[in-house]
Amino acid sequence: MTTVILWTDILIYALVVAISFFFWNLRKDLITRERWSQVFSSRLGMVSFVVIAFYILVALLDSLHFRDSLESVEGQASDKVYYGNTVRSALDTVLGDMSTVHERTYSAPFALNSFEKVNLRDDQGVSYRDFPALEHAGVHLASPEDKAGDIVIQSLIGLLIGLGFSVLLVGPQWWLTRHSDLPWQSAWITQVVIICIVAWMIRVGNLYHILGTDLAGNDVLYKSIKGVRTGVLLGSLATLIMLPIAVSLGIAAGYFKGWVDDLVQYLYTTLSSIPGVLLIAASVLMFQVYIDLNPDMFEVGLEKADAKFLALCFILGVTSWATLCRLVRAETLKISQLDYVQAAHAFGVSHGRIIRRHILPNITHIILITFVLEFSALVLAEAVLSYIGVGIDPAMASWGNIINSARTELSRDPAVWWTLTGAFCFMFMLVLSANLFSDLVRDAFDPKSTTGDQA
């Protein structure tokens, strides 16, 4: 086994470390604590946070890549170990066989037979047409009639395993937080539900195809889960690239005014006057042409897809800083007029110090709100961009690619509905929790916010 380190893997872990460090530093700041406890004092905040955290965990697990070593062939001369060409991740290992088995083509959820008839031969060699049995679904059954009973039994076993794990994981949390005022029960219940669902998926998903298979015979559930990493990564990395550009230019414009302000305003007006999709499409096309003309730079296919993905994050970040920059500029203009900033000037405090001590802390709420808001917007944008053909590389699992390849399947007769269901559910849960959470964050951090219930 050898590890494969992709650029995005490094970045996502760096991001998690950076955010943890950020919050660790803020733990003593009373106002910030107060605001966060307002976010978490609602049950909705707890639930949506746990769901987002779960998605991030899946993305982190899916970011540990490695290549399995091939078994040494007889007569192989040296002790050199050869590695397979497929890159697997820790998540694949957790999910088990789901990641490796393939059927011939479509099959419905929990089906034992394929969705399409093929020519078969019976024992006497007479050919006939029928739905062939699936190779990897329900093979442990003695007869197809046992299916319903078996599914119930296996589900119960899965749920029991899930409950066992829940006791192990949620129990200590309960012990730690039982005296807290915050609504931790909601967090525990959400965790138990998620753990049970995961255990059930792993248990039953390795015996049947819970969400059926797609045109190429891949398990739909597995593909949808693999889309989590792409969605989470795109949402956070693109915002992360956008933040420093927007914040530094916005502060510079609002603080120094004069020609700096004119220049920054000119830059973002120009940028935002170009239709967003076209600008992104044009940049991505340019980059794709570059990669396609230089194919030797990448060892495995996934590395090439990863480079394209990183470029997409970068492009999305560089093209979307205008809105935040405008907000930061306006806020900085307002703050730098305030008495304490004027006083700092009078005391001869340097520009850098004023910006760091007086201005940055007062615009953190804008940055935070934008980060959470942008996240869900980017996850949704990914699907659209992949449809247009300037999104994620088809070699990489993503919800956009699933929807794109499945968009005509509903018009088949009978309709193939399960491929879209997988992508829909996973995407909807992530975007919904991110949206709900961002609402709460805005209510807590934005002094002007009126989305709450105070009206």
């Binding site: 239709p275 396609d292 003309l293 929807i403 975007v431 919904l432 709900l436």
Partner: protein, 325 residues
């Protein structure tokens, strides 16, 4: 007023030059004409002669900014930047890579786009405002909270699912209208009704939520309390007092997109097979026809700047206190 508009138009020139320069850098310096030739001719086994030929045929065989071989003014005009990029300013879009005239294509495809985008836009705003006003009527009740959660839920569904779901339900299950296509004659409404419905429904979540916030902000003001104290009905307060006062923030978001309606919608048009500018752009992106993408970027920017100016003018109309100078 007129002086203000003229000044704004003059301000627009450097922005358009910036757009022009940016697209030029993207299309000609990041991706050189040689690369373009190679990807148009098929990526491998392309001889240098073939590339030169292609560049000559398509007019890319000139220097980028400065032609030192030509004398006088021609050293500036006989360059790629001048012939391909600056000509956009006089709406000379040239030919697409496949040899069609872009200007004719654009002027022909604009109308189907508008036929879809304008009704979606107008009906969408009407529906959103009505829904939002209805929710504001029930403010601070469980109904209001449920509506907000519903809006957030609607917002969290990808646009693609609205389209796919709409096509499946209305066209396939209920067989009410054709699933896609377009007809320029009086039968056009048959093809437009489904995309317009889908567009309106898809926009309710984000739109109604945004308007609700605006109306709530207004409903906390003193004049609303005065109106209530006078004993006015809730309907009168909502439509005669709150709505006109919330118009300014509404206009900010709404007017700016009106000119851009000509550009059409990329997704809608390609899903529903409407031969407008949206599907034109999508085809261009997919076939990597950079001449079209370049022209569309330029048209889009002009329309956006036009929208900004319109927004300012609309303020004076909505609020007599606003003076432009």
């Amino acid at each position: 007023m007129l002086a203000y508009i003229i000044r704004r138009l003059i301000y627009a020139v450097p922005i358009l030059i910036g757009v022009n320069l940016l697209t030029f850098i993207l299309f000609f310096i990041v991706n050189t004409p040689d690369d373009m030739a190679r990807s148009q001719l098929g990526e491998k086994y392309v001889t240098a002669d073939a590339i030169e030929n292609w560049k000559k045929e398509n007019g890319y065989d000139k220097p980028l900014f400065l032609n030192s071989e030509q004398a006088g003014l021609y050293s500036v005009t006989d360059t790629i930047f001048f012939t391909k990029s600056l000509k956009l300013f006089v709406f000379d879009f040239g030919q697409s890579e496949s040899g069609r005239d872009i200007t004719t294509d654009v002027s022909r495809r604009m109308w189907p786009s508008l036929a879809l985008a304008l009704p979606s836009f107008v009906i969408g705003i009407g529906v959103n405002i009505c829904v939002a006003l209805m929710v504001v009527m029930f403010r601070a009740t469980p109904l209001d909270r449920a509506a907000v959660v519903l809006f957030v839920g609607l917002m969290s569904i990808s646009y693609l699912f609205y389209i796919i779901g709409g096509q499946y339900l209305i066209s396939k299950m209920w067989r009410l209208v054709p699933i896609s296509g377009f007809d320029a004659s009086s039968q056009a409404w048959k093809f437009l009704i489904l995309p317009i419905t889908v567009g309106v429904v898809a926009g309710i979540g984000a739109g109604a939520r945004w308007y609700r916030t605006l109306f709530l902000e207004e409903s906390g003001q003193d004049y609303v309390r005065t109106a209530r104290a006078k004993g006015l009905g809730e309907m009168t307060i909502l439509f005669r007092h709150i709505l006109p006062n919330a118009l300014i923030p509404i206009l900010t978001g709404v007017v700016v997109v009106i000119p851009s309606l000509f550009m059409g919608s990329l997704l809608m048009e390609s899903f529903f097979g409407i031969p407008g500018l949206g599907s034109y752009m999508l085809d261009a992106i997919r076939s990597q026809d950079f001449a079209i993408v370049r022209s569309m970027v330029f048209i889009g920017s002009i329309l956006y700047i036009f929208g900004l100016i319109l927004t300012d003018i609309s303020y004076t109309w909505a609020d007599p206190r606003v003076r432009l100078n």
